[in-house]
Homo-oligomer: 441 residues x 2
């Protein structure tokens, strides 16, 4: 297949009138369309205004999708323990599948091709199967919580680790290695030392398995960990093995100098979730300092109850402008760095070494976005449109691993309307409601 359009190879290189040749799951040729088109007469050609690497959602909660908008205007720990965890605990296997599919549908529609996805304690296999079938790439993990968790989510430590190992054996490297495993302790507050060390042991035992957890999102969380362990959170995580090049820490809003040094020296990946941090009043993460230190910073939308969408374009804009306001310096997060965070940095965090740029030999994870709209007019600057003006609605084409998941704005790999209907039904049966539900009058 040949994809043609303005090709954004990465944040450094844009090819006008370009083309990308895809064979099987791989990009084989990238260049000027004129130099390519005649050499591949048997390849079908598909056109988009802009072709770019698929976005990487480096910290999401697909299975929270049924709780979109259920707890606005509330603070992280209340939001989590009063609203979101009870919802997660209530989901049966069918509802979990409905939630995960809704999340993956939104990713496909809005241009995310790789996810680092924090599932729930139960029914993780439904999400793995859904992600596999729906064609997205990612690292996924059942959540581990062995203390401070509501009924229905708390597990005996070894039971959670055992189930994790079974899921690793079943799904890590599955679906042509699109689907990999991330051992996923929720956060230090809800995990004992045994649980956290067990997570590290599993990641060490299985090649390529990563660790994904929340860290230092909120001041109360940091204080709780300090009360528990006598240490700052990142020090504690480092002591029990939850730092390193195979570890993705979401948020890292509240870190001190010594903790940042640990992140830097261990090569730990940080996922920045600016909209979630803002909406939950968690704070503004010190991303500019992380970037200055060479820490790999990726981007994530977090979940629909806290963002309230998985649209990676609005998150890129947020990351682009929030640090400027916080630092009173517009140069700290140039749009090129934001595109990196939203694409190749996320792939690096997830451990996919040939994902996140459109280069020969790299995986064919490609999205096409339209410029036939007012927000792209005039199109004075391609990267500016991508980072500051485009929305997920402008994505018209999504390909992962060489497979077309959406074309001409229509999801081809599943029936989008039936996924939305299943999600509505599941939310109704669970009686999920926000404060201003549709029937209020």
């Amino acid at each position: 297949m040949i994809l043609s359009g303005t090709v954004v190879v990465n944040s450094d290189k844009i090819i006008d009138d370009g083309a990308v040749v895809v064979d099987d799951d791989t990009i084989t040729t990238v260049g000027k369309r004129n130099n390519i088109i005649d050499k591949f007469p048997s390849h079908d050609e598909t056109q988009s205004d802009i072709l770019m690497p698929g976005m990487v959602g480096s910290h999401i909660h697909s299975v929270q999708s049924l709780g979109r908008g259920i707890s606005d205007d509330s603070e992280l720990l209340d939001w989590l323990f009063e609203h979101v965890l009870p919802m997660e605990a209530a989901l049966d296997a069918e509802q979990m599948e409905a939630a995960a599919k809704l999340g993956y549908l939104e990713l496909i529609e809005t241009g995310t091709t790789t996810a680092i996805d924090h599932l729930s304690v139960a029914h993780a296999e439904r999400a793995f199967e859904a992600a596999g079938e729906m064609g997205i790439r990612g690292i996924f993990g059942k959540v581990l919580m062995d203390r401070r968790a509501p009924d229905g989510l708390i597990e005996e430590t070894q039971a959670g680790l055992n189930e994790t190992e079974e899921l690793i054996q079943k799904y890590h490297g599955s679906f042509d290695d699109r689907i990999r495993y991330a051992v996923t302790p929720r956060f230090a507050v809800s995990c004992t030392e045994e649980c956290l060390r067990g997570a590290r042991a599993l990641a060490d035992k299985y090649d390529g398995v990563r660790i994904h957890t929340h860290a230092s999102e909120n001041q109360d969380e940091v204080e709780t960990v300090e009360d528990d362990t006598g240490q700052r959170n990142i020090h504690w995580l480092d002591e029990v093995g939850l730092t390193g090049e195979d570890v993705v820490l979401a948020h890292c809003v509240w870190t001190d100098e010594s903790e940042r040094t640990i992140l830097e020296e261990t090569g730990t990946h940080v996922t920045h979730c600016p909209s979630s941090n803002m909406k939950l009043a968690s704070g503004i993460a010190p991303i500019v300092d992380y970037l200055d230190r060479g820490i790999n910073v990726a981007l994530g939308n977090d979940g629909p109850p806290c963002n309230n969408t998985l649209d990676p374009f609005t998150e890129a804009k947020q990351a682009g402008i929030l640090q400027k306001a916080d630092q009173l310096d517009p140069t700290v997060t140039p749009k090129e760095s934001i595109l990196d965070m939203a694409t190749v940095n996320g792939a690096k965090a997830a451990g996919f070494d040939t994902v996140g740029e459109l280069k020969p030999g790299w995986k064919a994870d490609i999205i096409g976005i339209s410029t036939d709209n007012t927000q792209a007019t005039p199109l004075n600057d391609i990267l500016s449109y991508i980072v500051f003006a485009a929305h997920g609605e402008n994505v018209e084409f999504t390909m992962v691993d060489g497979e077309v998941l959406m074309e001409d704005n229509t999801v081809t790999v599943v029936d989008a309307e039936s996924i939305r209907q299943d999600a509505r039904r599941a939310a109704e049966s669970l009686d999920i409601k926000g404060t201003r539900s549709p029937t209020s009058s």
Copy 2:
């Protein structure tokens, strides 16, 4: 005409299975559809998923639309004097019209029905005519700059005031009183005392004419005014008459206690432009304090070179979440208050007393938004969807003053594609480019 759907009357009242009856330019009845539909057999019915008051863009620069994305990652005064003002100065009458129409097209498409629009020094009549023809409501003003302005924008003081008065006489109250005048000095930095006092005199002379200017957006601006006048900016504006219930001050990021007291005591309106303030590294405006003081705070997208869209939904979300992060308190800007800022507060700032809510006797400025999309699924909370998840792309119907401007996602009042084409041509002829223009490779 009857419009039916879930009716968001205002932030307090939502009517499920509701309907709004529009006669001429006015809403005559609002209620349950079942109680309404049989009483108006001769009225056509149009359905939307959600009907709500049109958004009010309370500080925009329609005529900067050709400069979308031309100066990303730069600071306000550089951005203004190096990039945006030279572009404004270069626009001839045709190009100014193309720019304004592009801006108004984006407003119509994304659900803004009333604008407080800062034009440019020259060719303001092209924007007035365009706004009048295209059907939007608003207060508009030719810009006054009689010092510290580039060639092509600087005017002799009295010449600018004279032209302002001619425009007031021609356009204030025109197009069935949809179009009104706001005397528009750019900001204190670029206006002499004579100019500012002249602006006040004109507003006093003509009933209903307002004043719209920028104030205390940036620290360098505040220092410049202090160097010029020996006073903090809001004190200076107050001294020369640019505070009061007929004054709209955009931004007000950098104000001290005494200045806030002036804003409060004079009933001056403040327009919050969070994304612009973030992108230009201006800072985070003390909106929570303004709200606590009872100051009327409205919302604005500012201009396409600094936002980079006029989508009022993304701006509402930004306003909703930025203050939470800044104050570390998620309750400071509840979604109800954000909807007020985006609608009725803006109408109040603009001086349209019966705009911004869907109530009998109020103007028929109504938008319809779709919930048939993944980001609205499940629809657990109507206001949450509007404030935190919807984008301008979800607007499917736009009515101003009882006239349908867009229906079924298609702008009916003008040919959208020809406006976009004219804008592209104008940008090309001006050689407007960003740093990563479409032809970079």
